[in-house]
């Protein structure tokens, strides 16, 4: 495989650094670093007790203009319906195929329009997060058969269910969750979502609802006895 452009760039780098190709032992040492990534600086906001992390997740998500409802495991469907009703939104929803969302319409308050990828004009999408990051109130969404990425972006209203047990401290804990769930490397699209979409491009005035969802609602399922709802 010879690619003159590739060779010219790589050799250009080596010439500028005044060296030839790296010796085998240096390369091996660099590869060991890639195989065992070490965290650098983990801020204090990414650490704390279970209860503190879940509480911080809520505060930070709300600071980023998301709304959060803490509910008991059996109350997810009604909580979604209540949110939609309160915001004058349709109760027909596109729902990710994730089995944890199977009972969503059991209460009869919601109509499931479809499971899986949303159509361009579906108004409401409901998905399930892999984790929540307390550090910044961020949702970690990993694509896959159960979790279409377009569901995070197309509907006007994005509702995400996240379990309290899946709320972790910071980015490093997020990587750990991701590596456990996907040992062979990340799935196609990993979204870190912090609040609804926004722009400041017109006279630096912040406006929510740019190209992505106008609203982000988080349904936090209280399934962690170490982090009870207040």
């Amino acid at each position: 495989m010879t690619d003159p452009a590739r060779d010219s760039i790589l050799n250009g780098i080596r010439a500028a650094l005044r060296r030839g190709p790296l010796p085998a032992e240096t390369r091996a040492a660099l590869d060991r670093g890639l195989a065992a990534p070490a965290p650098a600086v983990v801020p204090a906001i990414a650490r704390g007790s279970r209860a503190a992390l879940v509480a911080r997740f809520v505060v930070n998500a709300e600071a980023a203009a998301a709304t959060v409802a803490r509910v008991a495991p059996a109350a997810v469907g009604p909580a979604v319906a209540a949110y939609l009703r309160d915001h004058n939104q349709p109760t027909r929803v596109a729902v990710a195929a994730d089995a944890r969302l199977d009972g969503l319409a059991d209460s009869g308050l919601l109509t499931v329009e479809r499971r899986g990828t949303p159509a361009g004009d579906d108004a409401v999408g409901v998905g399930h997060a892999l984790a929540g990051l307390a550090e910044t109130g961020t949702l970690l969404m990993a694509s896959g058969p159960d979790s279409p990425s377009t569901l995070n972006m197309l509907p006007d209203t994005h509702i995400v269910v996240v379990r309290a047990r899946d709320v972790v401290g910071g980015l490093e804990d997020g990587w750990a969750r991701l590596r456990t769930a996907h040992p062979d490397g990340p799935p196609r699209t990993v979204h870190f979502i912090t609040g609804p979409s926004r722009t400041g491009d017109i006279e630096q005035t912040l406006q929510l609802g740019a190209h992505g969802p106008r609203r982000l609602h988080i349904v936090l399922v209280d399934d962690d006895p170490d982090a009870p709802a207040a």
Binding site: I13, V41, P145, I202
Partner: protein, 473 residues
């Protein structure tokens, strides 16, 4: 890269006289600058993160060939393709080839400074492919046929009534008398128009804030969500990026993520941080079927091992631009490069040439604010000085200025002559200034006095003469 920096002085003069521009630029103080200040103050580890960021990127640059090779391997292993582009022309051709292979006519684009650098839009258009910018700011300047004037707020120089004018001219499908006074109206209209483009585009092109060697992922950091719709909906996703964007691991990317949004907009985390790895998997319900990464060099490798290597640590947060008094006075277009402000004045001579970028290294007061706020601790003033020295050494400085400096150096090395000369000059200036105590015009210094008066020296002699008198008290 199209650079018109030689006209900096004329451009700057025009910009300073432009009241609209001044009004737009004034928002930076209450906007970006204030918000950054709050966000940085709220994170006690910010300084430690800056140090970690610098160390991580220095290590990466010292082993750049290895990390790029590993990145390529991982992209290939996940089903994508890496294309190496030594210069802008090669990068544009590569993108065009991919578009042609997929019979693309309509291309949506997320915001990418590298795409601006290589002037990709003009190239695609010339070859019969329609590129549509989807970042709101980029969309506005595309309609106005302008270059970005800021690296994260490309339309910062445009007022909302000007946006409304462009929309009325372009979006003729809507009633002519619709209200477009409020930013909300403008945003909603752009959202409607672009939603349709997202759904019909054949290819989506984004940039990348980082490349991860460990996983072969490309990363974009955005607020609008346009970069995500751009890459998720069409069949083909092309990432146009440059070799300096690689970091070793996901853990290393955390350092950059914690610095970037805080330094840019003052957010702890931008709304969307997206890691894209290869095309959609066979079992995936959505996502692009093809994934290409175009890796641009365009002069970057040449900067390694030189006095300006450190600029390759840049994460394009724009903090240096937002805090620059010169940028604040003249705005982005005056610089004549898609990269304005302190980062642009250091980068442009390296990417293009010092000849083309002439004037930029001098478009700074060397006040040092840029270095103080730079999250990657890039010594921008030192590098501006380096380019100035190069300009002098390469005889790019005008003859009169060179002679002036020589004359100054000659006298400065002869203290008696220097004291005599400055004493004489001080007296002459006082004489010229008369009662007013200010000079509106001065021979040989017309460039300086054109925009301001020179106060005449105080009576009592030169600083050195007065200092001496004080000493003997």
């Amino acid at each position: 890269m199209h650079v018109t920096s030689r006209q900096f002085k004329d451009n700057a003069r025009g910009a300073v006289a432009d009241a609209n521009l001044r009004q737009s630029l004034a928002t930076m103080k209450t906007g970006f600058r204030a918000k950054r200040g709050v966000a940085v103050a709220a994170l006690p580890e910010f300084e430690a993160l800056r140090e970690a960021g610098k160390a991580m990127k220095d290590h990466t640059l010292a082993h750049l060939d290895h990390y790029l090779e590993r990145f390529e391997e991982k992209v290939t292993a996940s089903g994508g393709h890496v294309h190496w582009a030594p210069d802008a022309d090669a990068a544009c051709r590569t993108v065009l080839d991919i578009c042609r292979r997929h019979n693309a006519r309509l291309v949506t684009k997320g915001k990418s400074m590298v795409a601006e650098e290589i002037e990709l839009n003009a190239f695609l258009q010339k070859n019969g492919i329609e590129p549509v910018e989807t970042d709101l700011g980029e969309y506005i300047i595309q309609l106005r046929h302008e270059l970005p004037s800021h690296i994260i707020a490309p339309a910062i120089h445009v007022r909302k009534d000007q946006v409304a004018d462009s929309f009325r001219d372009t979006h003729t499908q809507f009633p002519a008398d619709r209200p477009l006074e409020e930013p909300r109206d403008l945003l909603d209209e752009a959202r409607t128009v672009l939603r349709d483009r997202f759904l019909t585009a054949d290819v989506g092109i984004t940039g990348a804030n980082m490349l991860i060697a460990e996983t072969g992922s490309t990363v974009i950091v955005t607020n609008e969500g346009n970069g995500d719709l751009t890459q998720l909906l069409p069949r083909v996703h092309i990432v146009v990026t440059s070799i300096d964007k690689v970091v070793p691991t996901l853990e290393d990317s955390s350092i950059v993520l914690r610095l970037l949004a805080r330094s840019a907009t003052g957010q702890p985390m931008s709304t969307y941080t997206t890691f894209s790895t290869g095309p959609r998997r066979p079992e995936d319900p959505d996502g692009p079927e093809h994934f290409h990464v175009v890796l641009l060099d365009n002069g970057r490798s040449r900067m390694l091992g030189t006095q300006v290597q450190d600029v390759l640590r840049c994460i394009r947060c724009a903090a240096c631009i937002n805090h620059c008094p010169i940028y604040g006075a003249v705005g982005g277009h005056a610089y004549g490069s898609v990269y304005p402000g302190p980062i642009g004045s250091v980068l442009t001579p390296g990417l293009a040439s010092l000849e083309e970028a002439a004037n930029l290294p001098n478009a700074s007061t060397l006040c040092g604010r840029c270095e103080a706020v730079c999250p990657m601790k890039i010594p921008l003033p030192r590098m501006l000085r380096h380019w100035r020295e190069e300009e002098f050494a390469r005889h790019l400085v005008p003859a009169r200025a060179r002679w002036g400096l020589r004359l100054w150096a000659f006298t400065a090395r002869r203290p008696a002559l220097y004291r005599f000369g400055t004493g004489l000059a001080a007296r002459a200036l006082r004489l010229l200034g008369g009662r007013r105590g200010r000079l509106a015009r001065l021979p040989l210094a017309g460039g300086w006095t054109r925009v301001r008066d020179l106060p005449v020296p105080e009576p009592g002699g030169t600083f050195m003469a007065r200092y001496k008198r004080r000493e003997t008290h």
